[in-house]
Symmetry: C2
């Protein structure tokens, strides 16, 4: 079969690799219907040192079960399923607490010996715990939105949930990438009525308005902080959803959060620490968020995707064939595409 | 009247100052029955540059109302009252949210033009909002425990509440000072059944055991982290209450908190930032806490103090007369006293 490998920064290739086979009785084989490129894939795409062998990449996919190991319950060949971006047994204590990203028997796609999602098929460890069956056919028009259940929509949702977003909280979302827009959608879905989106790409912030943003702030840094404070009577917002991961973004978050409020972050941090001195302490600011246990949220979010009340798949603004995945990476790196869907 | 002034590190004096008078119709004058020295008073006591004038100091006191301004409702001369360590109108939006430390019309004791608590009397701004009437007489044996409602007990409680302590959470408390011991007491009161206290002063950790600590860890740093992890099957505790404020303590907190757990801090931070890189992110650690809005908690905690089901006043292990307050500071700085009560 064909799969995507990354050899280093700017060097993504599609190559023929061995077809996946069941290794463990808890495995399943899934033929991929749709996968996509994540903003976090861009970190290695921009910085990975060159190496002479490729590493599997991709952690978001949706497909059809082809084969199941003898211990896999609840799934059978032909089922359409979505995989969260971390596989997990969904039974250990962490999973029971909704923290499947810390599963005692889980792991990440593309880690050594584990397939990546950007390929024609994937061996899925802990398949019964990992995969969620979708009540749609292989040709459903909902596949793009359902694919977002793998990562980007639950990630935005996790950001909003850990921040405690509800109808009484005012919200700022930092970042107009796919995660930021998903956070807008999630915050609106949780009832937030005032959602300020910080971003400077009009096509993206327009989608953000469709998703529920009530205000758009294009300024950054101190000017951005000032602008949000102007919009909120000087106080800032109860919640700031930081969906970038860069130091200036998290610093902005602390600048615009209201006293007693919460900064939640789901942008993979490209910084070692956050401001937490006397000012943050005196203002009683909470920092929360982290890598999203997507698996914990899929059942909750699925009905709203199925009935069309949310359309998170609108973050996909380009579709490429698997063979053209490199162009998808480049388009996202160049910011000519928001999020790229891959159709093997 | 006499009041305590600080002239610089190691230089605390009791001097005669003008008797307090009503300035605003919202003021009250309170004759102090008991005050005390806070761990946070030790920061200026150890580091304040020498100056030629003294600054008022002290932010914990309990006393008798002597006079009230024309706008003060609910209080009359003769009432025994406790003052939280920040004064507040208790009506603004922040106060209504339980964040009196951010009151729009509040402030701190000992700030310019405002009396400190370590004196014979205090002018109390926003008296109706600030003061809480206590149903006891001037000679009540409960005065020490009631005085802790001013700061140290609500501070420990705030740490536990913001961390979400409940009967299902395992807890580590870092620090065996008066705040740490109060955090133990508060965590136990909120139902925590496993409370690990990190401290190395046997007399203090013995009191911690009386307050509810189930385990004591005297090791610090990496050894302390390892010991707590050993005690918790390798996982750490759901909650870590950081009651010191120094960098090594907050680093230890991140080292021993369980994945998905919460670090709450009430030690005034003597550090500018906290670790928040990929590891903390991947583990979904929340950082919360801050300066405690003591006023928000007094009504809730008061009944348990009155009926003796908690005895937070046991943190006082020395009593000095106001004239001897300097010896109280020195004893706390030398760690020969845990917390010093002042009886004017």
């Amino acid at each position: 079969m064909k799969a995507t490998l990354i050899y280093g920064a700017g060097d993504v290739r599609v190559e023929t690799v061995p077809d996946p086979k069941l290794h463990e009785p808890t495995d399943a084989i899934v033929r991929v219907l749709r996968s996509c490129v994540c903003g976090s894939d861009l970190w290695p795409y921009q910085a990975k040192p060159a190496q002479d062998h490729g590493d599997r990449i991709g952690h978001e996919f949706l497909g059809v079960v082809e084969e199941t190991g003898s211990d896999v319950t609840g799934l059978k060949a032909g089922d359409v399923v979505v995989a969260p971006f971390v596989w997990a047994d969904n039974t250990c204590d962490f999973c029971q607490e909704g923290l499947q990203t810390s599963c005692r028997h889980g792991g990440g796609w593309g880690s050594p010996g584990v397939d990546g999602g950007q390929g024609e098929a994937v061996r899925v460890p802990q398949a019964a715990g990992t995969l969620v069956k979708l009540p749609v056919g292989e040709d459903s028009a909902l596949l793009p939105s359902l694919l977002t259940l793998s990562d980007v929509f639950p990630t935005g949702h996790h950001c909003a949930v850990t921040a405690g977003v509800n109808p009484r909280t005012t919200v700022t979302v930092i970042g107009d990438g796919a995660v930021g827009l998903s956070a807008v959608l999630a915050a609106r879905r949780l009832g937030a009525e005032r959602i300020i989106l910080m971003g400077r790409h009009a096509d993206r912030t327009d989608l953000g308005r469709d998703f529920g943003a009530t205000d758009v702030v294009s300024e950054r840094g101190d000017e951005g902080v000032e602008r949000v404070r102007e919009l909120t009577g000087g106080d800032g917002t109860h919640v700031v959803l930081e969906c970038v991961g860069l130091k200036p973004a998290i610093e902005t978050a602390f600048g615009i959060v209201r006293n007693g409020g919460t900064v939640s972050r789901v942008g993979v941090p490209q910084y070692p620490d956050v401001p937490a001195g006397f000012g943050v302490f005196f203002r009683n600011i909470t920092l929360t968020g982290g890598v999203a246990p997507a698996r914990a949220y899929i059942e909750e979010l699925l009905p709203d995707v199925l009935d069309g009340s949310v359309e998170p798949g609108r973050v996909f603004d380009r579709t490429v064939a698997l063979d053209d995945v490199a162009s998808g990476y480049q388009a996202m790196a160049d910011r000519t595409a928001l999020k790229v869907l891959i159709q093997p």
